[in-house]
């Protein structure tokens, strides 16, 4: 049964191909069935494989399923194969199951849209690529999946391409991640050159054997690969694309920019953690960068008025937390937070989508209010999601994963832990700012209702969010270690013991944040802030702390200038000289052939005289 794991990415791919070819000709209902169905079957298959695995884990805890030989060159060979081990199992489950529910939600959210089947074609292609990415046992295959998700993200962000700014947002996301991908490609190529293969196991063994910790080469390769991961995961300094990518449909944001694609960077580091352990300097850098990202994201989230942008910045921050964990070597904790974040962030996005659906796709939180009675299901979903995001103690899974993570960070670096606590506080403030503004206060008018296809995903995700956390609990709440045990064979065990006051601060910070948000809500501060014209500080934060402006000056303008200078293609001009010379010569010579008698006679005589001279004097 594990041997059929190739069907898990293959089924959505097949669905995508069918929709791509026949999309225009089949009905919308059929398109939704093909799209959601292919991912659904893949999800069932994934669950079945996982159950079989956990029931009887195979020897060595990892199975490689070869699919075919790709290339065999002197000095390099690549085989396409799928690696099934606890890490990839977790991610496979996350992607396929959450993906299925998002497909289901989309079938109602996107009903009536132009290009309905095109949407599903792209979405299933994305799921297929992401599954390929996490199941790959070879860095080259992973890169294929990496690029695939990048392309699908571009296609889906720019789904409503008739509006120019959507296309620009899509381009921005694609270009920024592309630049990061080039760095990643450099890292991959370095590994390929050094080891002659990109098979992950071989490469990692080779790296440990060949390179000493702290050396130049592991650091160089690690940095290159890391840059690729930073780009995909929207971390500082490559985070500018994520808020603009909210121009895509909300389910897309839920799937791509919350649950899956942006976690690819985390997955990359976890998968190659052996290599990163050889470069401790890089790990420290990861930690610092993550801390910066957490703060930038939290501050920016405080002043956004578009609900999706609030969620985008929160995604940025939460992945910053995962990278924080990675920076201190807490791989398992990061994975746990990854899975838990996927659940509650998808829940948040889908809930906000449900809200917008009934408000004619309005997304400004200050245009909403008092919706908790009118949209109870959406309210419940969003509240559960917010509770998890803010890591309210005990109730939501977010608490457990963040606890686990911050505990591990404390054990390694107190400063980073401090930043994490500040971030947790700010997270509580900004997400509950959104909650109070949207769902409390004066009510606004709503229209329509939702069907079962919206309610079921929200319900399932809500229950999962509440329950998932109990897989890994700190000592004083039961000490369950299901999750870390599952991952232990790959990532090493890890339970850090923290002093009680550390855990206490960790629990108090989000509660304090919520309290502040509530107080300011009662005060009407948020409404006033929203209604007033943004001041300098707000504009700065809203614009993502000036990163866009800096990049525009540093990169975009010089690039456009170079393009302008080269617009006449100077290299071609050089060849144009040859062309013009030939044409000019031709024209000159043609003027000679005009029938002018004396000219002919003259040339004939000249030729004859020259010939005679040669003959006479040689």
């Amino acid at each position: 049964m594990i041997g059929e794991v190739w069907m898990v990415p293959a089924l959505p791919l097949l669905g995508s191909v069918i929709l791509g070819i026949f999309g225009g000709k089949i009905s919308a209902r059929a398109a939704a069935v093909v799209g959601a169905g292919s991912v659904g079957v893949a999800a069932v298959l994934a669950v079945w494989i996982a159950v079989g695995w956990f029931g009887a884990p195979p020897v060595g805890n990892a199975v490689t399923v070869p699919v075919w030989d790709w290339m065999n060159l002197p000095g390099f060979s690549a085989r396409v194969g799928l690696l099934v081990d606890p890490v990839s199992l977790v991610l496979m489950l996350v992607i396929s199951v959450i993906g299925f529910f998002i497909h289901l939600f989309s079938s109602e959210y996107m009903a009536g849209e132009n290009g309905y089947s095109r949407y599903f074609a792209y979405l299933t292609l994305f799921v297929a690529s992401m599954l390929l990415l996490v199941l790959a046992n070879d860095l080259l295959v992973m890169f294929v999946g990496w690029e695939g998700v990048g392309v699908c993200s571009y296609l889906l962000v720019g789904f409503w391409f008739e509006e120019e700014k959507n296309g620009e947002a899509a381009q921005k996301s694609f270009i920024v991640t592309r630049i990061a991908d080039i760095a990643m490609l450099v890292g991959i190529l370095l590994l390929a050159v050094r080891f002659g293969t990109l098979d992950i196991g071989t490469v990692l063994h080779g790296a440990v054997a060949a390179w000493a910790p702290g050396g130049f080469w592991p650091a160089a390769v690690a940095v290159c690969l890391l840059v690729g991961g930073l780009g995909k995961s929207a971390q500082v300094p490559l985070q500018t694309w994520l808020p603009d990518a909210m121009a895509g449909p909300t389910p897309v944001s839920a799937l791509i920019h919350a649950a899956t694609m942006v976690t690819a960077g985390v997955y990359l580091v976890v998968r190659l953690h052996v290599l990163f352990l050889l470069a401790p300097g890089v790990l420290q850098g990861i930690g610092v960068g993550a801390a910066v990202t957490v703060l930038v994201a939290a501050c920016a989230g405080l002043v956004q008025s578009d609900i999706k942008r609030v969620l985008a910045y929160s995604t940025m921050g939460q992945i910053g937390y995962m990278f924080l964990g990675l920076g201190v070597g807490a791989w398992g904790a990061a994975m746990f937070h990854l899975a838990s974040h996927a659940i509650f962030k998808a829940l948040l996005f889908l809930s906000s989508g449900a809200v917008s659906m009934r408000l004619h796709h309005e997304q400004n939180i200050f245009a909403m209010g008092g919706l908790r009675r009118k949209m109870p299901v959406a309210f419940a979903g969003f509240l559960v999601g917010a509770v998890c995001l803010a890591a309210v103690p005990v109730v939501g899974c977010g608490f457990f994963s963040k606890e686990y993570l911050l505990g591990a960070v404390w054990a390694n670096n107190k400063v980073l832990w401090g930043v994490g606590i500040v971030g947790a506080f700010l997270t509580g403030v900004y997400i509950f700012r959104a909650v109070f503004t949207v769902f409390f206060g004066e009510a606004v008018a709503v229209s329509g209702g939702y069907g079962v296809r919206v309610i079921v995903p929200l319900a399932v995700l809500g229950v999962a969010a509440l329950g998932f956390g109990w897989l890994q609990t700190p000592g004083f709440l039961g000490g369950a270690k299901v999750f870390s045990d599952v991952l232990a064979p790959v990532l090493g065990g890890g339970e850090s013991v923290v002093p009680w006051w550390v855990a206490g601060v960790g629990m108090a910070a989000p509660l304090a944040g919520i309290a502040l948000a509530y107080a300011l809500h009662e005060n009407g501060f948020w409404r006033r802030q929203g209604a007033a014209a943004p001041g300098v500080w707000e504009k700065f934060l809203q614009g993502g702390m000036g990163f866009d402006a800096v990049y525009r000056v540093l990169f975009v303008k010089p690039f456009l200038w170079v393009v302008w200078v080269l617009r006449d293609d100077p290299v071609d001009q050089v060849f144009g000289v040859l062309e013009r010379a030939a044409v000019g010569l031709h024209r000159r010579l043609r003027e000679e052939q005009d029938g002018k008698l004396r000219r002919y006679a003259g040339w004939m005589m000249a030729g004859s005289v020259a010939t005679i001279l040669v003959v006479v004097f040689s």
Binding site: R587, R590, E591, Q593, D594, G595, K596, L597, R598, A601, G602, M605
Partner: protein, 101 residues
């Protein structure tokens, strides 16, 4: 006179004819210069015949004469046809090969 002097005279006459051919625009004069050149060539043949003491030189001269006559006949007809076309005897006027470029 020596054959060399005759050859030299032939050369001079030939050169005069050549200069006339190149310089004159009126086609009548051009044809006349051609005749002059042919005449000079004939003189050269005669001189050579004298030098070697055979009759071949004069025979060749007869051939040259023959040629000159035939060529002149055709040339004059062409001259008249051209004059009918471009209304002038100017050699430089016959530039009808030029295309509109």
């Amino acid at each position: 006179m020596s054959w060399q002097g005759a050859a030299g005279l032939a050369l001079v006459l030939f050169c005069i004819g050549l200069a006339g051919l190149l310089a004159r625009r009126n086609l009548v004069f051009v044809l006349m210069s051609v005749e002059m050149m042919l005449n000079a060539a004939g003189l050269l043949f005669i001189a050579a015949g004298m030098r070697w003491g055979t009759a071949d030189g004069q025979i060749m001269f007869v051939m040259v004469l023959n040629l000159a006559g035939a060529e002149l006949a055709v040339g004059l007809i062409l001259l008249l046809r051209m004059r009918g076309r471009v209304r002038t005897l100017d050699g430089d006027a016959a530039v009808l090969l030029r295309d509109a470029s």
